[in-house]
Symmetry: C2
Subunit: 525 residues, 2 copies
Amino acid sequence: MFNGAILIGATERQGGESFHAIDPATGAKGDVAFHNASTSDVADACALADAAFDSFSTLTPNDRAAFLEAVADQIMAIGDLLITTAMSESGLPRGRLEGERGRTVGQLRLFASYVRQGDWLDATIDSALPDRTPLPRSDLRRVNHAVGPVAVFGASNFPLAFSVAGGDTASAFAAGCPVVVKGHPAHPGTGELVARAIAAAVKASGLHEGVFSYLPGTTNELGGALVADPRIKAVGFTGSRGGGLALMKIAANREEPIPVYAEMSSINPVVLLPGALAARAEALGTAFVGSLTLFSGQFCTNPGLVIALDSPDLDRFVTSAAEALSANGAQVMLTPGIHAAYEQGVAALAGAEGVTTLARGAEAEGVNRGRHALFATTGDRFRSNPALAHEVFGSSSILVKCATIDEVVATIARLEGQLTATLQMDASDTDNAAKLLPTLSRKVGRVLANGWPTGVEVTHAMVHGGPFPSTSDGRTTSVGTLAMMRFLRPVCYQDVADAVLPPALQAANPWGLTRRVEGKLEIVA
Amino acid sequence: MFNGAILIGATERQGGESFHAIDPATGAKGDVAFHNASTSDVADACALADAAFDSFSTLTPNDRAAFLEAVADQIMAIGDLLITTAMSESGLPRGRLEGERGRTVGQLRLFASYVRQGDWLDATIDSALPDRTPLPRSDLRRVNHAVGPVAVFGASNFPLAFSVAGGDTASAFAAGCPVVVKGHPAHPGTGELVARAIAAAVKASGLHEGVFSYLPGTTNELGGALVADPRIKAVGFTGSRGGGLALMKIAANREEPIPVYAEMSSINPVVLLPGALAARAEALGTAFVGSLTLFSGQFCTNPGLVIALDSPDLDRFVTSAAEALSANGAQVMLTPGIHAAYEQGVAALAGAEGVTTLARGAEAEGVNRGRHALFATTGDRFRSNPALAHEVFGSSSILVKCATIDEVVATIARLEGQLTATLQMDASDTDNAAKLLPTLSRKVGRVLANGWPTGVEVTHAMVHGGPFPSTSDGRTTSVGTLAMMRFLRPVCYQDVADAVLPPALQAANPWGLTRRVEGKLEIVA
């Protein structure tokens, strides 16, 4: 159950200005009064996180992995209440949320297995060279340490997988960092249920209560105070460009600046190459609309930009896409605010000079329904008006028609950083693809061929990140096991006695790690 | 030879306001007129670097390694002129500079071997799962790409190893990034000689001329324009806290913010534990002074802070250190400005309330001679006056006397981030060391036992970095092979055809890499 509490470690607090959940499907206000955490709640949560750091960050890999699995178990133990609460707070359907719950607990379990395996410690040993001339060399051993307490800001569009126990929290825990979550006000009941599950796992695992705190709230001040707290050493954020930039600014202006890992804004270009269009223009049109309109297009990897050479084949793609889009009814969007911003963005595109509206989705009854939208323009026009490349969060996309493959390259070269880029290509397009790839790979964190960018697998090879402004730090990913590396830093031990060394570096290798010794990996079977 | 040129790729330019080298040992002005590069030189260098990026970043590991080795060879080919020029521009003695040259070319060769070995690519393959339900999984492959052109700002105190072809340049080249160096005005002849060596290696290796440019100059505007150039994607800097913070600010306020890897400020605490003091107080005093005064203490890892429990053994340490220090004559400092700042810092410490001057080094004839200085204060006083913990660049150190080991922990807890911390300890100190380590390891990038922090090995396990303000980004190192990771970012390829994939990810593994496949490392013998 949930009752609108603020969770500071193991303590529940009420109080502060109250707010309510809104069911976006009906506009109805929920019964439970939630409360804005205060700046003293922030300070108390951060002090506890700091106090929990030493013990939590030095848990054995097994113990930390078991904790991650306990979080997953506790989330499943909430049962259907989690799904029904999330449905009423997000407008997303049951199947999607059940899938998202599976992704969330699967993610925690993948991190658990990766934590146990231990490669993330990057244990590295350069032995002493006592006979080296002119000077002997010391024994040098390096291992990754957790950076410190982490602040996490969840996203509205994944109330489970990118929220309280989402990828940022899971990867920070995996790295050994206590977490203070700023709860997203669009799904406060869902957030509190998951927060209570984490707190229960902390308790059941016998960990310091400060490993996790939960601060719900509606204000920018709350988030700002959390990022500014000197005990916080890194920030994970998924949300708008404006929100991410604001947190980056606060973090950069701290006495001790800290990294903000913000995933913000991406329009995910899809390039339709001529061979693919010739072979299957209609099928591409239908599949594109399927990706564009999925859950009202409320994905950071939504294909908001299509680039192609103008041709009769492209006309076939357009006809097919327009037909599919027109038949596709408007869906509930996540919040009234997101719906309003979507309508505003679509109206701006529809009114922009040189932009044609190719199709709009069907209307639907009810509030907060987002009508899909597909626009077209020329390469010249697109390149000369940067506003056309701004993300419209939701199922809106713009087709940019180019005359030559060089114009496609030039159009891509003008784009800001993106999470993904997709090539629709056949074997006959290989040369063109090779021509695009250098420019494309500079711009993105993930290149897809013949798929659609929506749908981000949680694996070792995944990169859900990309150059600014798709994220604040293009050297990182927020999805997949590599996400842990955001919350680790290397520490070197020089001539430190075995008894005092971290276990990962001790001579007996008690954790059975693969280690780099004298520059070569030594794999422990 | 050198003639005061600006090197924009393969082109030499003269012009701009001129400046001269100063021999700090005599104050004499050098003959050659050097020239401040202009903002249009910056723009031209960055445009060339951008044009060189695609070809340079996709070189085979072998070809890039060969280039690094060619740079090393060209530096050695300068011959003794490099040493004599550096001597006259830095006041450092021949032996030190010959050693530093050895370190510089050794560093380039270590990166070459590490580039060939290929682990830095972090090639990771999660194969497709076509039969997975409810949805099949795509083939996902991840590899590291170079981030783009890099700006490097060398340090005055290592005119070779942390300058034009120093660790930042070597690691950026190793990662596949073209480099634009802002030359340090304190050693312009040395800088130009090395820059010409790099340019010669670029040419001899048949690479795009934009792989390297060299912009000498004395102004902050020049450096600011370089960091602000939109084609620059990362910055390496070693120097003052003020300089580093200024560059961080410029980088954070760009339309596309970029990472600045600034190594700035550290006082490198040395903790003398009771067992070690009891066993060898006098020897520790002498050895400490050796580390403190080496080359006038002009090291970022200079031991500027000693923390110990007050005791008769500590008095023995003090007597020994004071004797050694007093006998040690003043040495030439790197520049008149550094010498003036040192004298100012020492005077401020000498005049601070509650601070005692334990010893000063012997005077010496000539200009720019820095007299060593050793101060003492109490833990209370030190913790209550943050100015006492500010770095005084040069051979100045302060001894902080504490009453209990808990007070030592509290004193460390109040420190800012540091490059290193050193424990002088015997077996009997193990419990105390274990008590200090959690707090200590939060603060530093390298923990040493029974050594001295000066002397930074170039190896795989080295970390020359640490929490802010010792560096701007405590997740990184500027020395050792791990330094490459600062200039790499991951890119994922989803269902991309083998023929179009980067070689590191192709099925045939043409580069013979160790790769992570389905989560497990597959080592190629």
